[in-house]
Symmetry: C2
């Protein structure tokens, strides 16, 4: 019998379609890997080609002074970084000028690697870059909301091989994020006890244990009870904090460990699947909000959203979250 | 300069990325058409193979008694039609048994056609089938919400060639649909004047005219001001009515005409793109709701949702809605 599970964090129901369910191994595919070179003369993200990008806004270097992470404005930005925001309203047609910030985080000088395979300290560098740029973006008073995300592979919306992620600052506060805040604010635990929904939910997942994939001193990684798609993983910080930018220097290496571990389990277990990850967060000004909690969501793109999902916002998950978690726990990855 | 437009119906902002924008023609692709046969011996939806499907729940026939549309339970249903709903709650883990209805509308006996190419009276038959099944689904007291949708092509989530659409009755009311109702109920026009947001919005689109693609006595088809993707088209009934199932016998042929016209403009103009369409509606019991208005949304799948869309619910549209509408208006399609 299928189940319909409520995702208390998003307010969305998910159909766990056990009758259609596949075994976890069935999602594994053998990918046709083009033999990418370690360096590509035409890639603007490769070492030696730094002049092909707009002027960088941030960089970290290794002990020999070579850059490990560079952040540059996106040449094909969806929003324009210059100008003031003009608002226009003509009855029900309302718009703002498309002013905002959009940068690319180049995650490695090497062309043919992927985040899962980077050394831990390099993943830490990426996380430090995210923190720096998120805070800088929110310093721009035209920015209302900042989203950090990664698109890995064509099904996840990128055709660039060179490992990179992105950060966008929008001049509006997204309706979907507002809906999440509403869910958290009107939740029973917050309304009655002032408890953060996310903290309460995380405690439940930890105690139950069935869907936990990994845990360390500062983070818990688990497949959500109402995961919207197979191998969907959430990484929650144990310390209550609504803003990613307020992550501490102690927490960064712990996040690098658990992020690498999860990405590597997906890479080995499912054959380098396409995926997106996003960091959901409020602004530094909202860091102390009791009702929100930043987190990182990883969504492998193994299934397609079709008319049902478009028309209802409900997803049909053809895997059992408990089985996805068990499968991921058992992927042999060796020492990180 | 890009624009950020508010979709007042959904509450979501959309980035109209004019800097990245393509000309409408650039979305056209020449599709590799496999030469499908008119009849496939292994296809359960083809004439002569009726025994391969579960027992049909509805059919319409032509003057010679041959079926034109059949509706059958989905063999690979996401929900199970038998059983009672059991609710379980364990703290923040809440679920229902996956009981619900899921049927397939077989749109034609012919294997190798597509909805856009069917005669008008056959499209009318499909719309009559939708009406009948929607009302029947809502008669089942276990059903809380019904969605009618079509997936055309692999990028839209189907691999079956034989033209078909689907109807699902879920035992829960989707959070996304609830959010839409909230938008409509708290809208300025409804709060202050008791006016339907959709009626008001449709009037604005008609008066402005820039994004209108087609119109007849009963329906208006237009690219929404804040279209979330290229060539996104909404078909609104002019008569205020919250439930598709209450569409009249006069309105059905008018909807068939405008639906065929839009699908044909997409087929000819863009080279048979993959698309989804969905009919958003309340139940017959809610048909008189002043704040909601059923409509049909067509979403060509020409771009991919990536991390930005996942993390914000905001879409980046690389076409200007006014240009999409003009392009569609000018596609030569001849008489219907």
């Amino acid at each position: 019998m299928p189940e319909v599970r409520l995702n208390q964090i998003t307010g969305d129901w998910v159909i766990i379609a056990t009758e259609r369910a596949k075994r976890p191994e069935e999602f594994k595919h053998v990918r046709e890997h083009s033999a990418f070179p370690e360096h590509s003369p035409s890639c603007p993200f490769c070492t030696g080609n730094e002049a092909m990008t707009p002027a960088e806004t941030f960089r970290l270097t290794d002990d020999e002074g070579r850059w490990t992470v560079r952040v540059v404005p996106n040449k094909f930005s969806a929003l324009t970084p210059e100008g003031v925001i003009v608002k226009r309203r003509d009855d029900l047609r309302e718009c703002l000028s498309g002013v905002g910030l959009h940068e690319v985080i180049i995650e490695s000088p090497m062309h043919n690697t992927t985040t899962a395979l980077l050394p831990l300290n390099r993943i830490g560098d990426i996380l430090v870059a995210y923190r720096h740029r998120q805070i800088a973006f929110y310093d721009d008073e035209r920015v209302e909301h900042v989203i950090i995300f990664k698109n890995h592979g064509e099904d996840a919306g990128t055709s660039l091989e060179h490992p990179h992620s992105q950060i966008v600052g929008t001049p509006v506060f997204p309706g979907q994020v507002m809906n999440r805040l509403n869910e958290a604010i009107r939740n029973y635990y917050y309304v009655n006890f002032g408890d953060c929904l996310y903290c309460t939910y995380m405690k439940g997942e930890k105690d139950d244990g069935l869907r936990v994939v990994s845990e360390n001193e500062h983070f818990l990684a688990f497949v959500p009870y109402a995961a919207l798609s197979p191998f969907h993983v959430w990484i929650y910080p144990k310390r209550h904090n609504a803003c990613y930018g307020h992550i501490t220097d102690d927490e960064i290496p712990a996040l690098a460990v658990i992020l690498k571990e999860i990405l590597l389990r997906l890479y080995v277990g499912l054959g380098n699947p396409d995926y997106n990850y996003v960091i959901r967060s409020l602004s530094p000004g909202g860091a102390d909000a009791k009702y929100f909690h930043w987190y990182l969501a990883i969504v492998p793109r193994l299934t397609k959203a079709a008319g049902f999902e478009l028309g209802t916002g409900m997803y049909i998950n053809t895997s059992l979250p408990e089985e996805s978690a068990e499968f991921l726990r058992n992927v042999p990855i060796g020492a990180l």
